[in-house]
Amino acid sequence: MKIVVLMKRVPDLVEDLEVDGSGKALATEHLKLTVNEFDDHALEEGLLLKETSGGELTVVALDAADVDKMLFTALAKGADRVLKITGAANVEGNTGLAAVFEEVLSAQEHDLILTGVQAADDRDGQLGPIVAALLDVPCVEVVTQVEVGEPGEGMVTVHKEYSGGVVAELEISLPAVLGIQAARQSPRYAPVSKVRQIQQSATIETLAGAGESSGAAAGGGSGFSVVEMTAPETGAGAQMLAGVDELMAVLEAKGVV
């Protein structure tokens, strides 16, 4: 089975996020990017499937700052191939990104396409369902478990999560896209030494992407503009307390202690 994992880097939410002078975009000067945590889960689920059912796992990502490190880490974790798409750095949003991925995927063998259920910067929808719609293959979002059917059946059985812990079991014919919420186990860790070692021996394949032009044609709805980006008023309702003494006073007043 050919498994393809689509990954992207997003602003690290642990850091302070600042809006630039235009008031419409993130200030990039101190912006720290990190792997979309749900993509990391998608990779983990893909690796687990490969280990149990065999196959080849390819990670595809757009060229961006530090993307090499992400791709070498994927190799260190067990990916067979990593592919970096160049020349498409200016694509807009997931609609633009999906069009680039669609083009790449059309030329790559793929049975199962995995990606994160969402990302922190999904202004124009989630990547998985857009890619699936462009490829005209089925897609299921919020997946927490994937089981590969018997060889030759060409299908997977997945768990899709609803609220309250209710789960739907769905059977999906391949090829298909799955938006992974959580892998069956926490994403594995690749030791730095192993990543370094891989960096010496392995190569990242590069592929030129078509960029924006195809995005607009295929996706149609991309590129709607930002009016403003603002931090919600911090502590709009919260009264900030100076310490545990003050907290105790609150809890006493509320009658909980």
Binding site: A133, V142, S186, F224, V244, V256
Partner: protein, 322 residues
């Protein structure tokens, strides 16, 4: 293009979800501003649901084999058929598990813009402006969706359920179900296993997030919860890591709680978490990041290390008890 707003109804186990009524409330206001009608798309529903959708002016139904249970593929095809028949200005979908399957699919196939994770929609001149909560709730982004058709997926809790609830007999019409492609097959629903503790019944919840750092350290929260006669609940990553059972998860894919006291320790306050706890009577948040979105929902906040607070508070309560 009509000036109507199409609300996509969501149902599970034969019942409409609350999000449907929230969307109806938002949709009615928006439709009035646009001078159009608020129309509901009901795919695989039943007659009882139509009566409950009395707040809508029209209900467009699609029924057919295999539509009573949700599967993203056939419901996606059915929604596209309704969209083409109604030709609405705005489509409102829940930013929910089902909605995540439908909204991007519809927007891409119809070739119209889609604003995800929205908390508000307004008419601004000729255009629709959508405000979305992005970056884990750290930033609100307002987008101009233009003067044409568009899709918005809306976070649960953005509108009032009551605003969309009314019994009635809205006009109904049917759209034929597109031929099934059979690519996705619904098998069954799996109910969660009952847990040791029912967190929805507790008056006090000590909710821990990824800030707790390790499984072993959950003990300090357990101790505090015991002193408060409450229980420990948690954010999703803790459940995914196997540190807490699923029955302790608060949020979008977990449980909805509204205790007397919700003490959030090292929880950032992502929209998916907030959905499950924002109606708590008193919310206290402890977080080392003063920018953490949880402070926007908390009534009281402490920018401190959770371990310090946990330890000092446990001691203070013990001291008080004597």
């Amino acid at each position: 293009m009509a000036n109507d707003v199409l609300v996509v109804a969501e149902h599970l186990k034969g019942e409409l979800g609350e999000i449907t009524f929230e969307l109806l409330g938002i949709g009615k206001t928006l439709a009035a501003a646009l001078g159009g009608q608020c129309v509901v798309a009901l795919i695989g529903g039943n007659d009882g649901m139509v009566t409950a959708l009395g707040a809508a002016e029209r209900v467009v139904r699609v029924d057919g084999e295999g539509l009573s249970d949700f599967d993203p593929d056939s419901h996606g095809d059915a929604l596209l058929a309704v969209y083409e028949a109604v030709d609405p200005r705005v489509v409102l979908v829940g930013y929910t598990s089902m909605g995540m399957d439908l909204a991007s699919n519809l927007a891409t196939r119809a070739g119209v813009p889609h604003a995800a994770s929205c908390i508000a929609l307004v008419e601004a001149g000729e255009n629709i402006h959508a405000t979305a909560q992005l970056y884990g709730g750290k930033l609100n982004v307002t987008s101009d969706l233009g003067g044409g058709r568009c899709v918005a997926s809306v976070l649960a809790g953005s509108g009032a359920v009551e605003a969309g609830k009314a019994e009635g007999a809205p006009a109904t019409e049917s759209v034929a179900a597109p031929a099934g492609r059979g690519r996705v097959r619904f098998k069954r629903l799996i109910e969660p296993e009952a847990g040791d503790v029912d967190i929805t019944a507790k008056e006090v919840l000590v909710a821990i997030g990824r800030g707790i750092g390790s499984k072993d350290d959950i003990e300090v929260a357990e101790e505090l919860a015991e002193e408060l006669d409450g229980a420990v609940a948690g954010s999703r990553p803790l459940i995914d890591s196997g540190w807490l059972p699923k029955t302790r998860q608060v949020g979008k894919s977990g449980l909805k709680v509204s205790p007397k006291l919700y003490l959030a320790l090292g929880v950032s306050g992502a929209p998916e978490h907030i959905e499950g706890m924002k109606s708590s009577a008193t919310i206290v948040a402890v977080n080392t990041d003063k920018q953490a979105p949880i402070f926007n929902y908390a009534h009281y906040g402490l920018v401190e290390d959770l371990f310090d607070v946990c330890e000092e508070l446990t001691e203070a309560i013990q001291e008080k008890k004597g």
